[in-house]
């Protein structure tokens, strides 16, 4: 007879420390790829709103391509392809963890670029014109006038994106990046208790993502009041 409570009573003491440790891998992966994705996203959003048509076209291509395919495909390309095309080059053969960070950041950079762009474009042009007419350079106007205001608009969607990212790190188990889902897969096959192990993994993801969801809601309600 299948009894989850019994299984947990017997195994939880052994499983939990291992899985909690793997959670740190997930959090590290999510955090590092978030930082990289924000950097990529900002850069691409600036290129996307550039006055030069060619630069804009390149940014659009990047956004459409990186957003249009599943994160899994990007991860496979980043992880499996470079060692194949340049077999001798050591630094191109990325570790699964590095490949996971880069792959998620390429995908996330495109999503964030669109979020940042909508933030920049939501501001009235008067803001930029006023800044320029006060003698600011376009770069200064961007840094001191446009970006600080746009940040407020983009904060709620960025918070939502970070929740999605945290959950997307699970996909990195498929290139064997050391995180929670990989550990869960290993435990499930060594213990022959997939149901119990995967439910526990899901619960741990929930424990990590729910506070983020609450924070996102809090930010959203705070910002909607102040406008």
């Amino acid at each position: 007879m299948f009894d989850l409570v019994d299984i947990y009573r017997e195994n939880l003491a052994a499983w939990l420390p291992e899985m909690v440790q793997a959670c740190f891998g997930t959090l590290k992966l999510a955090f590092l790829s978030f930082l990289l994705a924000v950097a990529v996203g900002l850069l691409v959003a600036l290129l996307r709103t550039s006055a030069n048509a060619l630069v804009r076209a390149i940014a659009i291509c990047y956004i459409e391509v990186a957003r249009g395919m599943p994160a899994l495909v990007i991860l496979y390309i980043v992880y499996f392809v470079p060692p194949q095309i340049a077999p001798g080059v050591k630094w191109l053969a990325l570790s699964s963890f590095t490949a996971a960070i880069i792959g998620l950041a390429i995908h996330g950079g495109a999503i964030l670029a669109e979020i940042f762009r909508s933030g920049i474009e939501a501001l009235h042009h008067g803001q930029k014109e006023a800044a320029l007419s006060l003698g600011m350079t376009p770069a200064k106007a961007m840094a001191y006038i446009i970006l600080p205001q746009a940040m407020r608009i983009v904060l709620p969607p960025v918070a939502n994106y970070s929740i999605g990212l945290l959950k997307d790190t699970a996909v990195c188990a498929l290139i064997a990046a050391p995180e929670l889902m990989l550990r869960a897969k290993d435990l499930a096959s060594s213990s022959f208790q997939p149901m119990a192990v995967f439910l526990l993994a899901a619960a741990l993801y929930f424990v990590m993502s729910y506070p983020l969801a609450l924070l996102a809601r809090h930010i959203e309600s705070r910002l909607s009041y102040s406008r």
Partner: protein, 221 residues
Amino acid sequence: MGFWEIMFEQFPYFMPLLLRGAIMTVTVAVGALALALLLGLVVALLKMSPLRMLHGLASAYIEILRGTPALAQLFVIYFGLPDIGIHPEPVTAAIIGLGINGSAYLAEIYRAGIEAIHKGQIEAALSLGMTPTRAMQYIILPQALRMMLPPITNFSIILLKDTALVSVVAAPEIMFFARNLVTETFLSMHVYLLAALIYLCMTIPMARVVAVLERNRQAWQ
């Protein structure tokens, strides 16, 4: 041999298999979307129910499914259910897994759409003697649907991309064939680039549709 020579040589072999995978990708996406549309509506209506209990249950359902990765849910369904004596087929597990996952997102889309309709609309319908069900059916839903169409289409793009996950439960879609081809030929770049291209051919037109729908909605408001 150069990249293009290999590509030209292997294309006639790779493409039919990947396209067979693409048909499965679309099948799983459509199946999961249908399930998510139905289940999501039920959950949204429960969430808006005046009964505290039902509201609480629906909220818990939405929070739990949105708070955990789709991959974990698929694993529970495909690898976990056999523990209790249920052995789902890969494709069934894929459709049910993604459909249940999607229902939580759609429930929130439905609710946002319904709540965006002004209260006066339902009050007017009720004061004309419609039952609440009829008011929902003839007054609220048709208007809400227009609001919901862009986010639902957007959700279908995400769903289509999420089907890549179901290759891990052995559903024979694009990434499943791609992985097999790479194991067989070691041509990871050629195979994965073709796979990426097939996804882009599906998602980019859909993204255009979303943009048009979004413009129409704004014009209509």
